[in-house]
């Protein structure tokens, strides 16, 4: 006898519906799924500052080393990175953890700005270039209790801020920027010396590195400086080197400063009342609103009538501030962000919010943070979008194009950007995944 099965034929609507209901349901992510924290890097690769060894030394013989990473590339890290800083060819990443390794460094290490990285091949020598995020050993008294709050990098030195053991400095000290006495003919490469600074009037809450000087901001609102002062960037009233952190006076004396910023030879400080003070190099009209001289060695109040200022950032030749209303103002020299015609201005000019995505359709987009590299600017909106503009030196803007951008341009990052650190030719961003 023939089998009792019916031939297949086209399925009726009822059969389709039953098949649909019987299909299994997949669950990719549950209700309590957490957003992961990621780190993205982009820019010039040969110095090793991006932390991906295969860019400089490919694993396969036929691949060529990558000179520039033009778009954001994900960097795998073991811990959640809470603070990052880009120096001149090197990067520091730090985490808020209580484990023994809290800080990782990669890139140039010719002046031991990443501490002593013991070479595997020869145990007495150290590495000059670090291609992968390598832990930096810190001489902590309580390594399992102290937390690293913030890191900052300058041209050839770095500062690490902890919550209970002061500030650790390492790297080049030829101008006293590490806070210790200058030793003649000291060789800085392969040095084990990490100096610890503890004598401030109160706890240090922010450290900032300029090109060859360091700034410390304490909880009481005072600012200390040390390092090279030939452009007045130490703000101590003279143009000499300072090797011990000294308190700044001038217009800042008695004012509660809530933020300090510097990257090149000019410095800006923001007070809790929304005033901005500046000192240092003014060759590019950064401080031309108060003085005609090109070097200012005492902090001066900058009388701008643009509203209460929330955050300021200093670049090599240009400065940027963010006001309470969420407006962004730029001044100085270079590509400022208002088209190719505006190359220098002494008075702050506002960048229209429509360039950051504000429109009648999205009226509540606001710029939340501003950052500066040497000749680049970066702005983060409250929706987690990153806008960059300025000179695109070796692909550091991360837009995928090698040309300079004269007005804010979006960087496509797969995630919500929480923080960004700008360097000379590379940038690092901390991103939360969707």
């Amino acid at each position: 006898r023939r089998g009792l099965a019916k031939p297949a034929g086209p399925r009726s609507v009822r059969q389709l519906r039953e098949a649909e209901e019987a299909a299994p349901v997949f669950q990719y992510v549950g209700k309590a799924a957490k957003r992961k924290d990621r780190v993205f890097v982009w820019g010039f690769c040969y110095s090793g500052a991006l932390g991906v060894p295969s860019f400089v030394k490919p694993d396969v013989g036929w691949k060529k080393p990558r000179r520039i990473q033009p778009t954001p590339y994900r960097l795998e890290t073991e811990e959640k990175i809470s603070s990052a800083a880009c120096g001149y060819g090197f990067t520091l990443l730090s985490s808020n953890t209580m484990d023994i390794t809290k800080v990782w460094g990669m890139g140039l290490n010719k002046d031991s700005q990443l501490g002593f990285q013991r070479s595997i091949r020869d145990r007495t020598k150290g590495y000059e270039y670090v291609l992968e995020p390598s832990p930096i050993p810190l001489p902590l008294e309580k390594p399992q209790q102290t937390r690293v709050l913030q890191v900052s990098c300058g041209r050839a030195h770095s500062l690490i801020l902890t919550d209970s053991e002061g500030v650790f400095t390492m790297g080049n000290n030829s101008y006293g920027q590490c806070g210790r006495k200058v030793v003649e003919d000291e060789t800085y490469s392969e040095s084990h010396l990490i100096h610890q600074l503890k004598e401030f009037d109160s706890r240090v809450v922010q450290v900032v590195c300029g090109q060859d000087h360091s700034l410390f901001r304490t909880k009481k609102g005072a600012v200390y400086a040390c390092g090279w002062g030939a452009d007045g960037q130490t703000g101590l009233g003279h143009y000499n080197i300072t090797s011990v952190p000294t308190k700044l006076r001038g217009d800042i004396a008695g004012v509660n400063i809530i933020q300090v910023s510097s990257y090149g030879d000019c410095c800006l400080a923001v007070s809790d009342e929304g005033d901005v003070f500046g000192w240092g190099n003014s060759e590019y009209l950064q401080l031309a609103s108060v003085t005609e001289t090109t070097q200012v060695n005492v902090p001066r109040h900058l009388p701008f009538k643009i509203g209460k200022i929330k955050e300021a950032a200093c670049g090599g030749t240009g400065n940027i501030v963010l006001t309470e209303e969420g407006n962004v103002f730029v001044w100085g020299y270079g590509i400022l962000g208002k088209g190719p015609n505006l190359t220098e201005t002494a008075v702050p000019e506002m960048i229209p919010p429509s360039l950051f995505g504000w429109s009648d359709f999205n009226p509540d987009i606001r710029v939340a943070h501003v950052r500066c590299g040497l000749s680049q600017f970066a702005a983060l909106t409250n929706r987690g979008e990153l806008f960059v503009w300025g000179k695109n030196l070796r692909g550091c803007l991360g837009t995928g194009r090698m040309e300079d951008h004269y007005f804010p341009w979006r960087v496509t990052v797969p995630g919500e950007v929480v923080d960004v650190a700008c360097g000379v030719d590379h940038m690092v961003s901390m991103v939360k995944s969707f």
């Binding site: 098949a19 649909e20 299909a23 299994p24 349901v25 997949f26 669950q27 990719y28 992510v29 549950g30 209700k31 799924a33 208002k338 088209g339 190719p340 015609n341 229209p352 429509s354 360039l355 995505g357 429109s359 359709f361 999205n362 929706r383 987690g384 979008e385 040309e403 300079d404 951008h405 004269y406 007005f407 341009w409 979006r410 496509t412 919500e416 969707f434």
Partner: protein
């Protein structure tokens, strides 16, 4: 009332009509569909070259994925969707808007280094004036009641299948899956739902009235752009 004027004597008023269609609308969608009659076909090409945005209301359903991205297709996968919140959806929409805004600037073929490019970008008037892939200029969530949701999309050079694919991709980004249930065009350049004629109004008198009302708007728009 002359006997020679009577339609049964004279014959129908219009025997042949040249009708041209504006932007395409496929069988599964609904909404405003622009047609040109006779001499109006010349205005159609001008309107096409204006590159104005079209506004769609797209309805979607979470939890299913089909092969042609709509709810009448063959089922591919079923997923859970209870982890989706309005906040997550808005974040994804913000990212879509961001990448599409960048594509808008790139395809507009204006040299980014000039001052005019900066001024146009500030005013928001940069748009591609030639052939380009589909670009979404604005996207917004109108309502989210799990499992269904509604979006309003402003776009250029798109097809309805692209919008359905976009709904599917939003579902994938939210780590679930989505199908598109409804695509409705509410605006096509200058023509909105109020100007559109319903199926019951497809007779000579209302067509003539509609053409008369829209003539002024179309002329003004063409003068503004060209």
């Amino acid at each position: 009332p002359v006997l020679a004027d009577h339609p049964l004597v004279r014959g129908p008023r219009f025997r042949r009509l040249k009708i041209g269609a504006g932007h395409r609308l496929d069988a599964k969608s609904s909404g405003v569909f622009v047609l040109g009659i006779g001499h109006g076909n010349k205005l159609l090409t001008d309107l096409y070259n204006c590159h104005l945005t079209k506004v769609y209301t797209v309805g979607g359903l979470f939890g299913k994925a089909t092969d042609d991205f709509s709810d009448t297709g063959k089922l591919v996968e079923k997923t859970t969707f209870d982890h989706i919140t309005r906040e997550k959806l808005e974040r994804i929409l913000a990212v879509i808007q961001g990448t599409n805004h960048k594509a808008l600037l790139m395809h507009s073929n204006i040299d980014m280094k000039t001052q005019e490019a900066y001024e146009l970008a500030v005013k928001g008037l940069i748009r591609p004036m030639g052939k380009s892939p589909p670009i979404i200029t604005a996207i917004r969530c109108l309502q989210l009641v799990l499992p269904e949701f509604q979006l309003e999309i402003h776009c250029l050079h798109e097809t309805q299948q692209y919008l359905r694919k976009m709904v599917h991709e939003i579902g994938l980004e939210l780590k679930s899956s989505a199908v598109c249930t409804q695509v409705r065009r509410i605006r096509d350049g200058v023509f909105t739902l109020d100007d559109a004629l319903l199926r019951t109004q497809w007779n000579l008198q209302s067509i003539q009235n509609a053409i008369w009302d829209c003539q002024l708007k179309v002329k003004r728009e063409l003068e503004k752009t060209l």
